[in-house]
């Protein structure tokens, strides 16, 4: 394994051992809470659409909103400073603390202040800073970075925190329970707020028209920091501006649901500082509060730090819609297992962190963790503002590829079968060209399989391309699906059928898992459909997952060229592999002309979705194989597209008894689980799925999985082999 891969693998191994359990418990708990809370309302998607529309509009009008908020805050008696970058913001903030002669500052949680490292700047200026959010306080005491946008100490268990506090504060009675720790921290931090000369907060939203800062907390610390001392500094990215309080309702409804499954956050503070509330001076304990003698000061520091450039960047712009709820992290199988200390950059963590890090800290910071996004797309459903987070990760990966130095680029470019530049790492290039590889492997099978499996070959593959030798490699079939189909005699009914489809054979179905393709053909034909099989062209999914967008675009165009004539003649497109259906329905809009992408998306169906439709329209269910006990693992992208329900419905219709998994992803995720630096993480994620199935006692059940990768992963973790759902229901 190369040194860099070994370093990454070692870091992940260390975090799996030290932080993995706590991160898993915390993230899966809040993720389950999100599902539970959302299930009680039927307007979540409308709220998400509304929230998204407000953010789109606000970012579009951002320069105007900045001018508006300057006027409104100044009219209220406060100051607005637009800081170009971190240094500029810190200079302004330390000037404020110096002008007040401040020695102490109490701060509520703010990722934006983490982005600028304001605590370091304040410490250099001689100001004692206390984090008052208890999670952030834990991280401050531990001298660590937050591991999650919302739960900074998600990587620590109660026992970890007790150990930390017992060592650091040396209490008379050692702390044990969460209650002990909370009481201690609350009192300790509470005294710091009482003594603070300055209060600092972030802002979840800023209403431009009224100069209002909206703060979302459950603890109440932001309220205290904002109103107790006479000076309040709020630090917010310029993207936090929305026009007015009228725009607030969808965010008020969504942010706590998305973050942790609360109907609404405990405190949504809408302050238009300097506030009318009297300053509370605990040094004068018996003086009645009297706002008329107060001299409140308020500074709103609006941070640019790359955001203006992000706004002008068609692919990164969406990042600015982010409301920092952490749902993308909580719904991410990789994040659930390894946490933000691996899945994060200098400041930000989770799926959306790639966009933030690329925008505010640069590509190098994003490059360190960007590959941990497998594009599984589970975060797409979780995001309250519908950001296409996998696409941002793909684009940034593409930019990282292009930015990489590679000698002899011109030479490599001439020799590789793809359209991407020479900088692409060999591992990515290998997996990105899976279709070409599979074609070659199939043409030379079984020799290719023997050769690939031969010890020395695996050693070279691992060293040169980072293909982990602990994984079984796909076994290429000599007879492809296309060959098999072409060699058959046409059915007597050909040409008379009411329905005509073209089956898209992805590289796995065509060259490796040929049986599922045959089962799909048999099933469709049994239900009265005239089937054609398209040529096997890589859909673009493989290169997309490696950030090779130019190659993916070339692939997409070739696939569309081969399917267009079928669409012209009224055939529907049936797809076996869910990730390829997801490419047609989601990613092709980035790769093809709008009309072309839209038509293909509209007429493409997952095979079990199509079977469901046929049965609903009168096809005879008795023609399919029925009954039996099944354990079903749906594919991540299939779930995001909401088509998993059709497989379950068909099973139910045919009298199967089904148990299903509910993990977000199996952890294999195409090439991800083959990569030597990620193998252990992939297995760790997969074990959660295996444990879930074992707990449901599935040993006697037929194991079915919709995705080729899921099939590989389950095969390596459970004793029994798995098949595709269509293989189960196909007639003999």
């Amino acid at each position: 394994m190369s040194a860099d891969r070994e370093r990454k693998a070692a870091k992940i191994r260390h975090l799996l051992e030290t932080e993995g359990d706590a991160v898993f418990e915390n993230t899966t708990h809040v993720n389950a809470g999100r599902y539970e809370t959302n299930s009680h309302r039927d307007d979540i998607d409308e709220l998400r659409d509304a929230a998204r529309a407000i953010k789109e509009d606000a970012i579009e009008r951002l320069p105007e909103l900045v001018e508006t908020v300057k006027e409104s805050v100044e009219a209220n008696g406060g100051e607005v400073y637009v800081a170009d970058d971190a240094a500029d913001a810190n200079r302004y903030i330390t000037e404020v603390t110096e002008s007040k002669g401040a020695e102490t500052l109490a701060k509520s949680k703010s990722m934006t202040t983490e982005e600028i490292d304001v605590n370091d700047a304040l410490a250099d200026a001689g100001v004692d800073v206390t984090e008052t959010d208890l999670g952030e306080f834990v991280v401050q005491v531990a001298d660590e970075a937050p591991s999650h946008l919302v739960g900074p100490a998600f990587h620590k268990s109660t026992e970890d925190i007790a150990e930390l506090f017992n060592a650091h504060f040396d209490p008379d009675e050692p702390f044990e329970t969460a209650e002990d720790l909370t009481q201690f921290a609350r009192d300790h931090v509470g005294e710091k707020i009482v003594d603070a000369d300055v209060g600092m907060t972030g802002a979840n939203f800023v209403f431009a028209e009224s100069g209002t800062v909206a703060l979302v907390t459950n603890e109440g610390n932001a309220r205290k920091c904002a109103v107790t001392p006479d000076t309040h500094v709020a630090v917010a990215g310029i993207e936090k501006l929305i026009p007015s309080v009228d725009d607030f309702p969808p965010f008020a409804e969504l942010i706590a649901r998305a973050a942790g499954g609360q109907d609404i956050a405990t405190y949504l503070s809408l302050l238009s500082p300097p506030v009318d509330s009297p300053v509370v001076d605990f040094d004068e304990p018996d003086e009645p509060l009297d706002a008329s003698t107060d001299d409140r000061e308020f500074h709103l520091v609006l941070l640019d730090n790359g955001r203006t450039e992000m706004r002008e960047d068609d692919d990164l712009r969406e990042t600015l819609y982010c409301i920092r709820c952490g749902a993308c992290a909580n719904s991410c199988a990789n994040f659930q297992h390894v946490g933000g200390h691996a899945f994060g950059g200098e400041t930000y963590t989770g799926g959306i962190a790639t966009g933030w890090e690329a925008g505010v800290h640069g590509l190098d910071s994003a490059a360190e963790f960007n590959d941990l996004c497998t594009g599984c797309s589970r975060c797409v459903d979780a995001c309250p503002v519908k950001i296409d987070i996998p696409w941002i990760n793909t684009v940034v990966r593409d930019r990282i590829n292009r930015g990489a130095d590679a000698e002899f680029d011109w030479l490599v470019e001439g020799l590789t079968p793809d359209a991407d530049p020479g900088g692409v790492d060999l591992q990515k290039r290998l997996f990105g060209n899976f279709g070409t590889l599979a074609k070659l492997g199939s043409a030379t099978a079984p020799v290719s399989n023997w050769l690939a499996d031969w010890g020395p070959t695996r050693a070279v593959m691992e060293r040169v391309a980072g293909v982990d030798r602990r994984r079984d490699l796909p076994e290429f079939q000599r007879e492809t699906l296309v060959d098999w189909f072409e060699a058959r005699d046409p059915l007597p009914a050909a040409g008379d059928a009411d329905r005509e489809v073209v089956l898209y054979p992805d590289a796995y179905t065509n060259y490796v898992l040929v049986d599922r393709g045959k089962a799909a053909v048999r099933t469709l034909e049994a239900l009265g459909v005239d089937v054609a099989v398209a040529p096997c062209h890589e859909s673009g999914r493989a290169p997309l997952s490696q950030g090779m967008i130019a190659t993916a675009r070339e692939n997409a165009e070739r696939v569309a060229d081969s399917l267009d004539p079928h669409l012209d003649s009224g055939r529907d497109v049936v797809v076996v592999e869910p990730s390829d259906l997801a490419a047609f329905r989601r990613e092709y809009e980035h790769l093809l002309d709008d009309d072309r992408a839209e038509r293909l998306a509209e007429h493409s169906y997952e095979v079990m979705e199509y079977v469901y439709g046929l049965l609903e329209n009168g096809a005879d269910a008795d023609l399919l194989a029925s009954g039996g006990e099944v354990a079903f693992h749906s594919h991540c992208q299939q779930r995001t597209l909401d088509v998993d329900v059709y497989t379950e419905a068909v099973f139910e219709r045919l009298g199967y008894d089904v148990v299903t998994s509910d993990v977000e992803c199996c952890g294999m995720a195409g090439s991800f689980g083959y990569k030597s630096e990620y193998y252990e993480l992939s297995v760790d994620v997969g074990e959660t799925l295996a444990d879930q199935f074992e707990a449901q006692d599935v040993a006697q059940r037929e194991l079915v999985a919709s995705g080729a990768s899921c099939h590989e992963q389950l095969g390596s973790l459970l004793p029994q082999a798995s098949t595709h759902p269509v293989e189960l229901v196909a007639p003999e």
Partner: protein, 168 residues
């Protein structure tokens, strides 16, 4: 109609672990004293015929009272579907009184109940225009799970109680 609204509010409050006492203005003082743990601190309620004058609640607030009071009493508005209080900050100290003591008692006129966040925001828009431009939407007791388990009573109140004045 109004009884329905108060019932719904009470049921949302219950879901947020907030007790609800209903009272007519004439009976307010006695009812409040039943709810309040002394020492208690408050700010004038500004509700016609309802006052803290004949109750155990002390005002005006001082920093010592904020630190030592078991209960803080303020006027609030309500959001029916979430069981939330809308606490409007003011020069008298509504914000710190609702925040520092262990228990917050919010006194709400039945006519100050807003159906949902949407309605609340539209009312707040008018309030903001009129210069009353600071409000906290508070739902239940302050809480944290940062130490690994959910614990109530962090920087804000540990318990919350609503007193609905049904004839105002």
């Amino acid at each position: 109609m109004r009884t329905d609204t108060i019932d719904q509010f009470a049921s949302s409050l219950a879901a947020a672990d907030v007790a609800c006492t209903r009272v007519e203005a004439a009976e307010f003082s006695a009812a409040l004293d039943d709810v309040v743990d002394a020492p208690a601190v408050g700010v004038p309620l500004g509700i016609d015929g309802v006052s803290l004058d004949d109750t155990a609640v002390e005002l005006p607030p001082t920093p010592r009272l904020l630190r030592e009071a078991e209960t803080g009493v303020t006027r609030v508005h309500g959001i029916v579907d979430h069981g939330s209080f809308v606490i409007q900050a003011d020069a008298a100290g509504t914000e710190p009184v609702s925040l520092y003591p262990r228990t917050h008692v919010g006194v709400v006129r039945a006519s100050d109940l807003h159906a949902d966040v949407e309605e609340t925001a539209s009312w707040l828009g008018e309030e903001f225009d009129a210069g009353r431009d600071a409000a906290v939407l508070a739902t239940g007791a302050s809480a944290t799970a940062d130490m690994g388990e959910l614990v109530h009573g962090v920087h804000g109140p540990q318990s919350v109680h609503a007193v609905v004045v049904t004839d105002r």
